[in-house]
C-alpha cells in the first residue's frame, strides 16, 4: 500500500516536471504572441484616448474649407494659423489665460500657506478641543460645492467681490482636504529633529520654516498639484461670479462663447487647443508627480 502511494507520488512529480518542461519549450513563441496581443490592445486603447486630442489640434490647423470635408482629412493640408488669429480676435484669449493662471496660482498659494500652518498645529500642538476642532474641519469634506453655491454667491456680492479675483479664489482658498493631507504627512515626520532644534533655542516659527516645511516638500507638491487640477476643473463657480469676459478664466470664456455666437469650428478648436496643449506639456514634464500626487491625495481623501 504504502509503497504504491509513494510510487504514485513520484510519478506525479515526474509528470509535473514533464509538463513544466513542455511549457518551457513552448515559452518563447507563446510569450511572443502574448506580448504582441497585449501591445495591440494597449496601442488600440491609447489610440482611443489620444485621437480626440489629436483631432482637435488637427482641426484647429486646417483652413476653413477643409474642416467640413468628407471624408475628413487626417493631416491638415495646407496648414494655417488663421483659426488662432480668429480666436484671438473673437475673445480676449491672452487676458483669459492670465485670469486662469492668476486664479490657479492664488488658490495654490492660499492653500499651501494656510493648510500647512494649520496642518502643523494640528499635528504637533496640544490644546484643549484640538481633536474636536480637527474633526469639525475634516467633516466639511462631506459638504460639496453646490450646496454652498447660492449662499456663497450672496456672501460674495455682499462683500462686493463679484467679478474679482478674490471673489473667484476665496470659496476654495482653504480646503479641509489640504489641512488633512498636511497634518497626516507632518505627523509621520520624526519628532527628534524638532526637539533638538527646540533645545538649541529655535523658535516655533523657526522650527516650522526651517525644519518641518522643508521636510514636507512631497506633501506640499501634492497639495499644489491637487489645487491646480481642482482650479482648472472648477467651472460653475467662476462662471456665476464673473460678469465680464475680462475676468473669466479660459474654460468659462470659451464655453460661454459657444453659448452666444453662431459657432465656427475652426476658431473654437483653436481655443480648445490653446487650453489643452499647455496642460499636456505641463503633464509631460510632471506626469509621474501628477499620477502619484493626485492618487495619493485621492486615496487619503
Amino acid at each position: 500500500m504504502k509503497r504504491s502511494r509513494k510510487n504514485n507520488k513520484s510519478l506525479e512529480i515526474l509528470n509535473e516536471t514533464n509538463e513544466t518542461q513542455v511549457r518551457h519549450t513552448k515559452k518563447p513563441l507563446f510569450f511572443f504572441f502574448k506580448y504582441c496581443f497585449t501591445y495591440i490592445i494597449l496601442i488600440f486603447l491609447s489610440f482611443l484616448i489620444l485621437v480626440p486630442v489629436y483631432w482637435v489640434v488637427a482641426t484647429s490647423l486646417k483652413i476653413v474649407s477643409n474642416i467640413l470635408l468628407w471624408p475628413p482629412q487626417w493631416l491638415p493640408n495646407p496648414m494655417s494659423l488663421n483659426n488662432y488669429k480668429a480666436a484671438f480676435k473673437l475673445l480676449p484669449i491672452a487676458r483669459m489665460a492670465l485670469n486662469s493662471v492668476i486664479i490657479a496660482v492664488g488658490g495654490i498659494v492660499t492653500n499651501v500657506v494656510f493648510c500647512s500652518l494649520a496642518g502643523y498645529t494640528f499635528a504637533r500642538k496640544r490644546f484643549p478641543g484640538r481633536d474636536t476642532l480637527f474633526a469639525l474641519i475634516i467633516s466639511t469634506m462631506m459638504i460639496p460645492m453646490y450646496i454652498r453655491l447660492i449662499p456663497l454667491y450672496l456672501i460674495t456680492s455682499k462683500f462686493g467681490m463679484q467679478n474679482t479675483y478674490q471673489g473667484i479664489i476665496l470659496p476654495s482658498a482653504v480646503t479641509a482636504f489640504g489641512i488633512f493631507l498636511m497634518r497626516q504627512y507632518i505627523i509621520t515626520l520624526p519628532l527628534e529633529v524638532e526637539d533638538a532644534a527646540r533645545v538649541d533655542g529655535c523658535s516655533e516659527w523657526g522650527i516650522l520654516f526651517r525644519i518641518v516645511l522643508p521636510e514636507s516638500r512631497p506633501a506640499l507638491a501634492s497639495l499644489a498639484l491637487f489645487t491646480l487640477v481642482a482650479s482648472m476643473e472648477d467651472f460653475l463657480w467662476p462662471m456665476i461670479v464673473t460678469s465680464t469676459r475680462k475676468m473669466q478664466p479660459l474654460p468659462v470664456g470659451i464655453t460661454l462663447f459657444i453659448d452666444k455666437e453662431v459657432y465656427d469650428w475652426g476658431p473654437l478648436m483653436a481655443m480648445t487647443a490653446i487650453v489643452i496643449v499647455p496642460v499636456i506639456i505641463l503633464y509631460a514634464f510632471l506626469q509621474s508627480q501628477f499620477v502619484a500626487g493626485l492618487t495619493a491625495g485621492a486615496v487619503k481623501g
Binding site: T38, I49, W55, I67
Partner: protein
C-alpha cells in the same frame, strides 16, 4: 536683565498672558477657523435655511416650512433629472471600473513602456471638464464628427449622439469613461501591488489558471480600493453639470437634465433661490444616502 523683561511681559491680565503663550497656535488656526465659519459652515446652513422660505429674487420673504420640498418632490422635471443623473452615474461607473481594472491587469506585469501607457491613459483626467465637453462636441457631431466617421468603417450608420433623447446620456457616459479611465486604472494598479505574490504562487501550485486567480484572489482583495473608487466616482458623477450645460442645455426636450443643472436653472435663470436651495439639500441627502448604502453593501467600515 532679559529674563526680567520677559517676566514683566508675562505679567498682566490672564487673558493677555494666555494669548501670548499660545500665540503660535492662535495665529495658525484663527484664519482657518474664521474662514470655515464664513465660507463653509455658514453657507451650508444658510442653504438649509433658504430652502424653508419663499424667496423673491435673492431675499427670503416668508417662512413656508416644507412647502418647497413638497413642490420639488411633486415636480416631474426633478424626478427626470434624478433618473438621468443616476443613469449617467451607473453607466460611467460600471464602464470605468471594467476598463480600469482591465487596463490595470494588463499594465501590472513587467512590460517595457508601461509608464508611458499609464501616463497616456491618465492624461484626460487632468483636462478641464468644460474643455473636454467642447472637444467632444466636435467629435460627436452627427454629420462631420470623427466618431461617426470611424463607426462608418464598421457599417454603423451615423448616430445622433447629442440630438437624440435616447443617445444623449450614453454619449455623456462615453465622455466620462474616456476621462476617468486612468483614475480607476491607477488606483487598481496601486491595489494590485498590495496583493502578496505568494498567494498567486500558491494558487498556481493548486492548478489555478489566470481566470481563477482573477476571480478568487485579485477581485476579492481589491474590494477596499474598489469601494473607494465607487464612492468617489459616485459622488463626482451625481454632481453632473458641465456636460449637459455645455453640450445640450438639458435638451433635447429635457432628456439630459441633471440635478445640479436643474439647481443652476432654478437659481440663476429663474432666480428662485428657495427652490434651488431645496434641490441642493435634496441632492446632498441623495449623495449621502447613496454613499452610506455602498459602504454597507461592501461591508467595510474603514476605507483608509
Amino acid at each position: 536683565m532679559i529674563r526680567k523683561v520677559l517676566q514683566i511681559r508675562e505679567a498682566g491680565f490672564p487673558f493677555v498672558r494666555w494669548l501670548k503663550r499660545n500665540s503660535f497656535t492662535i495665529i495658525t488656526l484663527a484664519p482657518i477657523i474664521v474662514y470655515f465659519l464664513i465660507y463653509v459652515y455658514l453657507p451650508a446652513l444658510y442653504s438649509v435655511y433658504l430652502s424653508l422660505f419663499k424667496t423673491r429674487l435673492i431675499t427670503p420673504v416668508n417662512f413656508i416650512g416644507f412647502q418647497n420640498y413638497l413642490n420639488v418632490l411633486k415636480d416631474s422635471f426633478f424626478w427626470q433629472a434624478v433618473w438621468h443623473t443616476f443613469y449617467f452615474t451607473a453607466g460611467s461607473l460600471i464602464g470605468s471600473l471594467i476598463f480600469g481594472l482591465g487596463l490595470a491587469l494588463i499594465l501590472e506585469k513587467k512590460l517595457p513602456g508601461k509608464i508611458f501607457f499609464r501616463s497616456i491613459f491618465f492624461m484626460p483626467y487632468i483636462f478641464p471638464s468644460a474643455v473636454v465637453a467642447i472637444l467632444w462636441y466636435w467629435i460627436l457631431d452627427p454629420v462631420y464628427g470623427l466618431v461617426n466617421y470611424l463607426l462608418s468603417f464598421f457599417g454603423i450608420n451615423a448616430i445622433p449622439w447629442l440630438t437624440d433623447s435616447d443617445w444623449v446620456i450614453p454619449a455623456f457616459i462615453l465622455i466620462a469613461i474616456w476621462r476617468r479611465i486612468g483614475f480607476a486604472m491607477v488606483l487598481f494598479l496601486a491595489g494590485l501591488q498590495t496583493i502578496p505574490e505568494e498567494l498567486y504562487e500558491a494558487a498556481v501550485v493548486d492548478g489555478a489558471n489566470w481566470w481563477d486567480k482573477l476571480i478568487h484572489i485579485s477581485i476579492p482583495l481589491l474590494k477596499p480600493i474598489t469601494l473607494f473608487i465607487v464612492t468617489v466616482s459616485t459622488i463626482w458623477n451625481l454632481q453632473l453639470f458641465v456636460l449637459p450645460f455645455v453640450l445640450t442645455k438639458g435638451g433635447p426636450s429635457n432628456a439630459s437634465t441633471s440635478v445640479v443643472f436643474l439647481l443652476y436653472q432654478k437659481a440663476f435663470a429663474q432666480y428662485n433661490m428657495g427652490q434651488a436651495s431645496t434641490i441642493a439639500v435634496l441632492l446632498f441627502i441623495i449623495i449621502f444616502l447613496t454613499s452610506l448604502l455602498m459602504m454597507k453593501y461592501f461591508k467595510i467600515e474603514n476605507i483608509y
